[in-house]
């Protein structure tokens, strides 16, 4: 199964992923429609900087999600078919337990409905919007093993020079 994986050297903090994510969550799905819409759409990926790097953070759709375990109303669940972590808005009571346990801060508040909101990984799109929007291709949508192989090959590129691959 493909995952959203980030090449941390490549993120320039341009926030194109944030914009594309918000647009995907708008009524018109277009940038212009989204800015003209009354209730502004909100993104589910956040570019944060710290420790010398910038990084687009969104729900990691963990295999053993703490948010699901912490959810007392059964709103947060792992979808059997997609394997993705999702929130059922009808069941969510806005207690924010999920927010407290998520180590990535990937869950935020839908300010209108007062419930938890997070990345749904754009299940209707071929690739998540943030991945398509990233101009440096820092955000990738790959099988874990493909990502790892790329990383191994990069490591070996300049092996004799004793430098980490670029």
């Amino acid at each position: 199964m493909k995952q959203i994986l980030v090449d941390i050297k490549k993120c320039l903090a341009c926030k194109s992923c944030e914009i594309a994510c918000a647009v995907t969550h708008s009524e018109s799905k277009s940038l212009i429609g989204a800015v003209l819409q009354d209730k502004k759409p909100r993104q589910r990926v956040y570019v944060e900087a710290g420790d010398g790097i910038s990084f687009p953070l969104q729900c990691r759709h963990c295999e053993d999600p703490r948010c699901v375990s912490a959810c007392m109303s059964g709103a947060m669940y792992t979808d059997d078919q997609t394997g993705l972590v999702a929130n059922n808005p009808d069941k969510c009571v806005g207690c924010w337990m999920c927010v407290m346990v998520c180590p990535f801060g990937a869950i935020t508040q839908d300010t209108e409905q007062k419930i938890a909101q997070k990345c749904e990984r754009c299940v209707d799109l071929e690739e998540p919007a943030c991945v398509m929007a990233c101009p440096t291709k820092a955000i990738k949508f790959l099988d874990i093993d493909v990502f790892s192989k790329d990383a191994r090959l990069q490591y070996l590129t300049n092996f004799h020079l004793k430098e980490e691959g670029k």
Partner: protein
């Protein structure tokens, strides 16, 4: 990008196939590689005006709403817009200034140009209040040039003379009340640059007023000045028949494409290409075929009948034919990619202006005193390059269309005076009043990789003509319409509504064409939008109403350049309803968007911007506007 989405021009489509085969990277490939483009940039809400930035405003409200300095979206958008206008105004003012210098030097016998149009010289001089009595053309030309120089040196408080002498009086008063009369193009650009720097103006409305002021500097210190001086030097255009599209290139000729905007060198290249035809023949060619791209192309089409190769987006594809021996460029709209494209063929790219050089091109400096030598050198370089042409790489598309161009205001009035010598505008005005001509629309501007090449120009104009709206065109829009056959008498038969067709036929017959006038009048280059300004001012004057009350509109369906933003703002300031077919980078600010597209600007200036990317819907919007103006006039 699907090839159907790149262009509707069949010649361009053929060349796209060749570009693919030859491994040429085109503007469309690069546009595609840029997708998706930055949302902050598209909305105009990024600021790099100081080094605390770059700052961005979150358009959706959850992130930062202020830059480091405290600037919000409205301010950032307004500042960025004004900076775009500066780019456009600077380009036109610099162009005009070069023409004035040429006139000044020609008058002193220091530049090898003959003052071709004494009538225009006299008419410009009288508008400027210069006494023409008993002065020879050189003396008068010098005084006209000095008046222009004085505008650029004006550090007093009076407005630019070129504006007060050529703009409608009603407008001068309106602009005066708003405090937006420019004094001196250079000074206004300088002041606006200052105004938009960090920590100066933080009032979006004040910045938009400066945009209006700058657009007037553009309209009169750029467009109008350039047209006037070029007409004096090279002649006021009269109708001329030629051809347009890549099919004008000839396999057995030395092909020289002239590209850019300023006709000072290109007029000379045309002259010398004709004189050096024999040298081309000695090199084994059958002759020299010149053709034009962008607005230099329009200038030499109108005055010299030189055919048009194509418009902005196809400049690389012209080279891809493999048949272009030299492409001579001056300034503006010259893609930096040209040298890369040319490297795959034998084509020489020749840059000529000190501010427009290109690695990989050859630079032959334009020096006004030596312009004859320079032009000869360029023609000879093309002949030399011809000898190295690889016939195996040549593929010239067949497509070309006949075009009639050269409709200066003088030429239009001339044609109309065949119907009514004492009152030339009367036949046109009568036909507008009785509804035979519903109104008029200027379709102008560039191509833009965001729009299928020529599709919006053609789509819009087809609708307008069908509804009896007369169209005038300049710039790359005029090229598009020329290539598609709209600049011909047959187009009147094919595209014009019944009543418009009848009027065009009457005028055409009276003017001795024995056929209708083309339904789209080619009025020139982008600086020649000033001619359109003069035409609407004359119509308004004849009717004793303001320009803003006329049933007219303007449209830039595929614009890309900062110059177009300046011209569009000038049109709005003149009182014209101005359609934009590409969304400008202002939507990040509700305030600026509203200011430009609705009541605020309309109540102050009479015109406004109208943004619509679908050409068919845009035509409907323009027609609705024209009808509402007719209703207000009671016609």
């Amino acid at each position: 990008m699907k090839w159907e989405n790149k262009s509707i021009d069949p010649a361009v489509r053929t060349m796209l196939g060749k570009a693919d085969k030859d491994g040429i990277d085109t503007v469309w490939d690069r546009y595609e590689a840029q997708q998706p483009q930055c949302g902050f940039g598209l909305l105009g809400i990024c600021c790099r005006n100081c080094i605390q930035g770059p700052c961005r405003i979150d358009p959706f409200g959850s992130g930062p709403q202020k830059g480091v300095c405290g600037a919000g979206a409205d301010l950032i958008v307004a500042r960025n817009l004004l900076r775009s206008l500066m780019g456009g105004t600077a380009a036109h003012a610099d162009h005009a200034y070069e023409a004035v210098e040429a006139l000044y030097m020609a008058a002193d016998g220091l530049a090898p140009y003959e003052i071709k149009d004494e009538n225009k010289l006299k008419s410009v001089a009288s508008k400027l209040g210069i006494d023409t009595e008993g002065k020879d053309k050189n003396r008068l030309a010098k005084e006209v040039a000095e008046t222009a120089f004085a505008d650029f040196a004006n550090h007093g408080s009076s407005p630019m003379k070129w504006l007060t002498a050529t703009a409608p009086q009603e407008r001068v008063e309106t602009w005066g009340k708003l405090g937006v009369l420019p004094k001196n193009p250079d000074r206004e650009i300088r002041t606006a640059m200052h105004q938009t720097s960090m920590g100066v103006d933080s009032d979006p409305v004040n910045l938009i007023l400066s945009a209006v002021k700058l657009s007037l500097a553009d309209g009169y210190g750029g467009l109008h000045l350039a047209t006037d001086i070029q007409d004096i030097l090279f002649g006021t255009p009269t109708p001329v028949v030629s051809e347009a599209n890549l099919g004008v290139l000839k396999a057995d000729h030395v092909n020289i494409i002239i590209h850019g905007h300023v006709p000072l060198l290109s007029e000379k290249v045309v002259e010398w290409a004709r004189k050096l035809e024999d040298e081309a023949k000695s090199a084994g060619a059958s002759g020299i075929q010149l053709s034009g791209l962008c607005c230099t192309g329009n200038e030499i089409l109108m005055r010299q009948g030189v055919p048009l190769a194509n418009n902005f987006l196809a400049q690389e594809l012209a080279i891809t034919t493999g048949a272009v021996d030299a492409m001579v460029v001056d300034v503006q709209c010259i893609m930096p990619s040209l040298a890369d494209t040319a490297a795959c063929y034998h084509t020489k790219i020749i840059t000529t202006m000190p501010i427009a050089k290109m690695p990989g091109a050859e630079h032959v400096p334009f020096e006004i005193e030596k312009v004859d030598e320079t032009a000869q050198q360029i023609v000879r370089m093309a002949i030399e390059a011809y000898k190295k042409r690889d016939p195996g790489k040549v593929n010239i598309p067949d497509e070309k269309s006949s075009v009639m161009a050269g409709f200066s205001v003088e030429a239009i009035v001339g044609a109309l005076s065949k119907l009514d010598a004492s009152n030339p505008l009367k036949p046109l005005v009568d036909n507008i009043a009785n509804g035979n001509v519903l109104g008029a629309c200027a379709v102008v501007g560039c191509n833009n990789a965001k729009v299928t090449q020529d599709a919006s120009h053609i789509g819009l104009v087809r609708e307008l003509l069908k509804n009896n709206v007369l169209v005038v065109a300049t710039g790359c829009a005029a090229h598009a319409l020329g290539k598609a056959g709209f600049l011909t008498s047959e187009a009147a038969e094919k595209y014009a509504g019944e009543t418009l067709k009848a009027v065009l036929t009457a005028v055409g017959n009276a003017a001795g064409l024995n056929a209708p006038l083309p339904p789209v009048l080619h009025m020139g280059s982008c600086v020649d939008n000033s001619r359109i300004g003069d035409l609407v001012a004359a119509l308004a004057g004849y009717l004793k109403v303001a320009v803003k009350d006329l049933p007219i509109a303007a449209s830039a369906p595929e614009y890309q350049h900062e110059k177009a933003i300046a011209i569009g703002t000038w049109a709005v300031s003149l009182g014209v309803f101005t359609h934009l077919g590409v969304v400008p980078p202002v939507l990040g600010s509700q305030q600026v968007t509203t200011l430009l597209t609705s009541d605020p600007v309309e109540s102050l200036l009479g015109g406004k911007f109208y943004v619509e990317t679908d050409p068919i819907k845009a035509a409907a919007g323009i027609i609705a506007h024209i009808k509402s103006k007719r209703a207000k006039l009671g016609i």
